[in-house]
């Protein structure tokens, strides 16, 4: 456990050694702040049924920076170690492979949480200033942020796997961006391809991130997406461990 915490500590800190963390944080806060502002502005003009939280997590202004953040924060985790050769010093220290894989995953995941935490301030300040709720019920907050964590875990693990596959950060970013975009658009396939067969349509809605977000931000917490994201995260991390060991043994 102590070894794991030592590794994790370095992983989290290593974000802040490079300017990329600050650039991502800035760009993220800027875009999500703009998103928040524009949603409220629209709602001021055209009153609707949707709550502020639902409106915030629905538009492309949310999804676009969301998807783009994963390649940016995961691309270097393994690639950089391979490129610099520190992979060798890392793996010849008395550490277990799974400790490395988990520390890298949680290192990025913690940074991801740091990235999202400020958005809570948006809603808190909204409620404070207007005296109105930003959601229908408190459960919607739990649902929304739970889903953010679940989706984040899955996409972070996809990014880590992509990074473990290559020495080149740009390749890693390209692989994870493409994969995550595809995963995100899976839910649209029945609409685009005009599929109406209920079985297939259900299958796609089961993996539709956008559908999940619409439900969870209303406070409808469904256990199926929870199982989906947790099991996919576990699967991706397991694959990452396999790739990690393969790279080590063939080096």
């Amino acid at each position: 456990m102590k070894t794991f915490l030592t590794l994790l500590n370095r992983e989290v800190k290593s974000f802040f050694y490079s300017p990329i963390a600050y650039v991502v944080l800035f760009y993220f806060l800027f875009l999500s702040g703009f998103n928040f502002y524009s949603q409220i502005a629209i709602m001021n003009g055209f009153p609707t049924e949707v709550t502020v939280v639902e409106a915030f997590f629905m538009p492309a202004l949310f999804w676009f920076p969301f998807v783009l953040s994963f390649p940016l924060i995961t691309m270097r985790v393994y690639s950089e170690e391979f490129r610099m050769g520190t992979f060798e010093t890392l793996t010849t220290a008395p550490v277990q492979d799974w400790q490395v894989v988990l520390s890298k995953f949680f290192g990025v995941f913690i940074f991801y949480i740091i990235l999202w935490a400020p958005t809570l301030i948006f809603f808190a300040s909204f409620e404070h200033i207007t005296g109105k709720m930003a959601v229908h019920a408190a459960g919607a907050y739990w649902g929304t942020y739970l889903l953010l964590l679940l989706m984040g875990g899955f996409f972070v693990s996809v990014g880590c796997l992509a990074s473990a596959l290559t020495k080149d950060q740009i390749n890693a970013a390209t692989i994870s961006f493409t994969t995550i975009t595809l995963l995100l658009f899976l839910g649209f396939i029945p609409d685009i391809a005009n599929i109406t067969a209920p079985g297939i349509k259900d299958l796609f809605s089961y993996v539709s991130c956008i559908q999940h977000m619409q439900d969870f931000s209303k406070g409808i917490i469904d256990s199926r997406p929870i199982v989906y994201y947790l099991s996919m995260t576990a699967l991706m991390s397991y694959l990452t461990l396999q790739v990690f060991q393969y790279r080590k043994w063939k080096a």
């Binding site: 102590k2 370095r10 290593s14 490079s18 060798e88 010849t92 008395p94 043994w249 080096a251």
Partner: protein, 310 residues
């Protein structure tokens, strides 16, 4: 401390090391010699659990490097080739991180890191970013990393490559001072270095051990010939033929230099015909200006042992 039995490693059809057997006793400083691609780094990577062997086994302080990899890794400090380091960390921060990773407890941390900073002469740069350091300093940071948890065994893969002569001397002194308490396995192609530091030499070529002995014994027992150079005024004598008949002389090459002639004698192994040469010169009344015997060096031994397919 290190025991290697029938160790073999094959990469996609290429045999990097072939049925290697050797042992290193506690307290020895062993030089691991061989041309590029001989299998030195591969052997070291197997010993540090970075690569699995295709067959055979290796133990570090009794721990199998594959079966009890974590325990085996705890016993050793390793400096890989080219000294990979996190360039975005500060020297003391990096050493603290590495010490924690290798299980140095919190209360001993300050002492352990302070000691290696002192030992490796890093006091001036301890707060600098590793990325801003020169090659010599980086090499010493790598060495400090290998030493920080006070391991019994050090495995150093070409620790002096790319350093200037002063830095090489510093690193060499450092390694020499480590001997006795610790066991050191060091790979290099710089032969004088080996003669100065190592108590034993293992020569490896094409994945096989060619020799394993002290540098002194290797020189004594080697088959490479030494040579002798004589500059003398020999008048009309056919000196080359006369010299060629002396015992231990393989052949003679002559070069005229005014009244004098330069003779290059190639000798048979361990031959030293200097007395006979002097005797001959005195009998014939040659005027000898120079007589030098060139002893074989470790370099000759190395070339002999690792030349082509011999």
């Amino acid at each position: 401390m290190i025991k290697v039995e029938n160790l073999t490693k094959r990469y996609a059809g290429v045999t990097a090391i072939n049925n290697l057997n050797f042992e290193v006793e506690k307290g020895e400083i062993v030089g691991f010699l061989g041309p590029n691609g001989a299998g030195k780094s591969t052997t070291m990577k197997i010993l540090t659990s970075y690569l699995p062997a295709t067959s055979g086994r290796a133990t570090i302080a009794g721990y199998d490097v594959f079966e009890q990899s974590i325990e085996a890794r705890r016993q050793l400090g390793y400096l890989p080739e080219n000294t990979p380091l996190y360039t975005d960390m500060r020297v003391n921060e990096y050493l603290r991180y590495r010490a924690a990773l290798k299980g140095v407890p919190g209360r001993k941390m300050k002492q352990a890191v302070g000691d290696v900073i002192e030992l490796c002469n890093l006091r001036d740069v301890e707060r600098k970013l590793i990325g801003a350091l020169s090659k010599g300093y980086r090499q010493r940071v790598g060495l400090a990393d290998a030493l920080v948890h006070d391991p019994q065994l050090l495995i150093l893969d070409e620790p002096t490559i790319g350093l200037d002569p002063n830095q090489i001397r510093q690193v060499r002194e450092l390694i020499k001072n480590l001997g006795g308490k610790r066991t050191v396995l060091i790979s290099t192609h710089i032969l004088p270095e080996v003669e100065m530091m190592c108590s034993r030499v293992i020569v490896i070529h094409k994945g096989k051990i060619r020799a394993s002995d002290t540098a002194e014994n290797l020189l004594k027992n080697q088959r490479t010939a030494g040579s002798m150079r004589i500059e003398a005024k020999v008048g009309k004598d056919n000196a080359a033929a006369d010299l060629g008949r002396l015992p231990g002389v393989k052949d003679v090459a002559v070069e005229k230099d005014g009244d004098f002639s330069n003779f290059q004698l190639r000798l048979e192994a361990n031959a030293d015909p200097s007395e006979e040469v002097m005797q001959l010169a005195m009998n014939r009344h040659w005027t000898v200006r120079e007589l030098t015997r060139r002893r074989p060096t470790l370099e000759d031994v190395f070339v002999e042992l690792t030349h082509s397919d011999s």
